[in-house]
């Protein structure tokens, strides 16, 4: 039996947060709160222990087994602590075509970890994840909640060095396609097209349009 008496409940001093989360859902849908509650624990403690699972179950009037069943279904709740910097390497096709396999191999060697492991100091952990939804700026690495896009060899090194110093750089966000770079001027009509297309458009106009 989980001895909650020996572990201070996580939400004991976070009543406002708890109320806010529970308040997002109707009474008959209280169970919906299980995911955000799990995430709060995951984020703060880097994993969700059995004691926390039991605590969340008690809050929502569920069996601990039900909460565990939900928690274990997903890739981003962990039963064992992840590192201070949890490196999630996107490994699906677009990123693979941009070198994700090599990137992951490199990280394994560099950090001395295999995917699923956390290092002894609890600083880095490594996980191969599936498509992160940034396929046009591949390869992509997610560190905790932040996306680092277009992680080339050189840029990875600078990222790792910063993390080793316990500094998390701002996200590397890029926009490609219609908006070549962040902070571009507001677009309107044809002028919004990428230069190459605008040239094409002009050429096509001359030829009578598509």
């Amino acid at each position: 039996m989980i001895e909650l008496q020996t572990v201070t409940p996580f939400f004991e001093d976070k009543q406002e947060l708890l109320e806010e989360i529970l308040g997002r859902y109707p009474d008959y849908g209280r169970r919906s709160a299980v995911m955000p509650l799990l995430w709060e624990v995951q984020r703060a403690e880097r994993y969700v222990s059995e004691a926390r699972v039991a605590e969340i179950a008690a809050i929502l009037d569920l069996h601990a087994t039900e909460v565990k069943g939900v928690m274990s279904f997903y890739s981003t709740y962990h039963g064992e602590p992840v590192g201070r910097w949890h490196l999630q390497v996107c490994s699906t096709l677009s990123c693979k075509l941009a070198g994700a396999d090599e990137l992951c191999d490199h990280l394994e060697e560099r950090l001395g970890l295999v995917p699923g492991e956390t290092d002894a100091e609890g600083r880095f952990s490594l996980q191969k994840v599936e498509c992160l939804g940034s396929c046009t700026t591949a390869p992509v690495l997610q560190v905790n909640d932040t996306y680092y896009e277009r992680v080339t060899r050189g840029r990875l090194e600078e990222l790792l060095e910063a993390l080793a110093r316990d500094e998390q750089p701002a996200p590397w966000r890029e926009r490609h396609g219609d908006n070549e770079a962040l902070g571009g001027a507001p677009m309107a009509g044809n002028a919004a097209k990428a230069p190459a297309q605008a040239a094409d458009a002009a050429a096509n106009d001359e030829e009578g349009g598509a």
Partner: protein, 446 residues
């Protein structure tokens, strides 16, 4: 009348068409465009005002007339889906935005949510009005943290200034949105699994019927739409159904977002009219293959690949045309596969994705997709495979078609079948020689 018919303008099916204007993605990439003030400055929430002053049924008809089809991959006509909602009977109703974008190759929803969140909020608001749902559920994949922050910030702004809440824009209509984060499961993109996940259950898909309109979120009438589908709604209301249906083909109207990745010079998201050819997408917008290409995936990895040839490049981005050619339009995520990429290795990568994401509810997917297929690929790729193995893979893929509880098994098996259809030689090479026709090369850029 004949004259009117003859004079009906040609549909817009190319980016080169001067009539085409980037609309949904107009402010993506623009710093500061995500704020309410910025949104209002360029006419934000005017469409909502207009909608709230009309009958809900009218809005449904407008969306029906526009020809808007779901942009999450299934392509179901949005207006028709809205009309499935039962008459208002006092029970709570929900409009659910499926922002669990996880189809490999897809990233169009993310930028929209990060840089122009109010557009989506306005779309949900109008959709809520149309189907008389006072609650919006925005289910966003957990990894999209930045988008989540932008959305919640935008919702707070909207609430504070009367664009959401008990009395939206003084219309008497109450509408609010709860944003619920996923936690890393592709299956949550399936609408019934999404609802189970939202309800705090394991995210297995549900039986249909009953359909969400009859028994959805918490068993209550609900409609689920994709991000871009909903984000199109304000523009349709503002500019009219005809504006939308002037773009695209007979079968597939309006605006689409192509996400090009893989071996192309200019990967990125491009807003295009439906009906645009794959050639225009890959060559014009994408800048052409960065190295000789041999195949491309037309709409996300759930869609069988095509060989990179004229016949397939000239195909328009149109639901029925792509279906007729033996694949699907899907989410419009185009992945270009270079000549020197072993197809077997690429398909193993894709198979491993489905293996990891299988929910485990039904036998063929849990055992076939999640266990057996990856093992067969590994055997082949490790050099220990035989020609009989290739036959078994083909047969197992066939057994996975149409037998599982939800389409995930089909999404895994159909592309495998296509890869065998067009690139069997690569499988056989591995089976006979133990080495790939195209050995692995380092693709990681310096």
């Amino acid at each position: 009348m004949a004259d009117a018919v003859a004079e009906r303008p040609k549909p817009i099916t190319s980016r080169h068409d001067p009539r085409f204007e980037v609309t949904l993605y107009r402010y993506v990439g623009v710093e500061g465009a995500h704020t309410l003030d910025a949104y209002l400055e360029h006419g934000g929430y005017e469409a909502a005002r207009k909608a709230l002053a009309s009958e809900p049924g009218q809005i449904v008809n407008t969306v029906k007339a526009s020809g808007l089809r779901g942009r999450g991959g299934a392509g179901f006509p949005a207006g028709v889906k809205w009309s499935f909602m039962p008459p208002v009977d006092g029970r709570q109703r929900f409009i659910v935005c499926n922002a669990d974008e996880s189809e490999p190759g897809s990233c169009k929803d993310r930028y929209l949510m990060e840089d122009d969140p109010h557009q989506l909020i306005e779309g949900m608001l109008i959709a809520g009005w149309a189907i008389q749902a006072t609650k919006g559920v925005l289910y966003i994949r957990g990894e999209y943290w930045h988008a989540y922050e932008r959305l919640t910030g935008a919702i707070e702004e909207a609430r504070a200034r009367g664009y959401l809440g008990a009395n939206v824009l003084d219309s008497g209509f109450a509408f609010d949105i709860v944003v619920h984060r996923g936690a890393g499961a592709y299956i949550c993109g399936e609408e019934t699994a999404l609802m189970n996940s939202f309800e705090g259950l394991r995210a297995n898909p549900r039986l249909k019927p009953p359909f969400p309109a009859q028994a959805g979120v918490y068993g209550l009438p609900s409609t689920i739409n994709n991000v871009t589908t909903l984000a199109s709604v304000p523009h349709i209301v503002e500019k009219g159904a005809d504006w939308f249906s002037a773009m695209g083909t007979d079968d597939s109207k309006g605006i689409h977002h192509v996400q090009i990745s893989g071996a192309v010079a200019r990967p990125g998201v491009y807003e295009v009219p439906m009906g645009i050819s794959y050639r225009e997408i890959i060559h014009d917008l994408g800048g052409g293959p960065s190295s000789p290409a041999k195949a491309f995936i037309p709409g996300g990895t759930s869609c069988p690949l095509f060989p990179y040839d004229d016949e397939h490049l000239d195909m328009p981005m149109d639901f029925s045309a792509v279906a007729k050619a033996g694949s699907m339009l899907g989410t419009g995520a185009v992945i270009v596969i270079p000549e020197d990429q072993c197809i077997v290795d690429a398909m193993y990568n894709v198979t491993r994705f489905y293996a990891h994401e299988s929910c485990g509810k039904c036998t063929p997917c849990r055992e076939g997709v999640s266990t057996w297929m990856p093992q067969m690929y590994r055997k082949l790729l490790s050099g220990r495979g035989t020609p009989e193995d290739v036959d078994v893979m083909e047969d197992v893929a066939k057994n996975l078609r149409g037998t599982a509880f939800c389409p995930l098994a089909d999404a895994a098996a159909w592309p495998i079948q296509a890869s065998l259809q067009y690139f069997r030689n690569e499988y056989e090479h591995l089976a006979q020689h133990g080495t790939p026709l195209h050995p692995r090369k380092d693709r990681w850029l310096a």
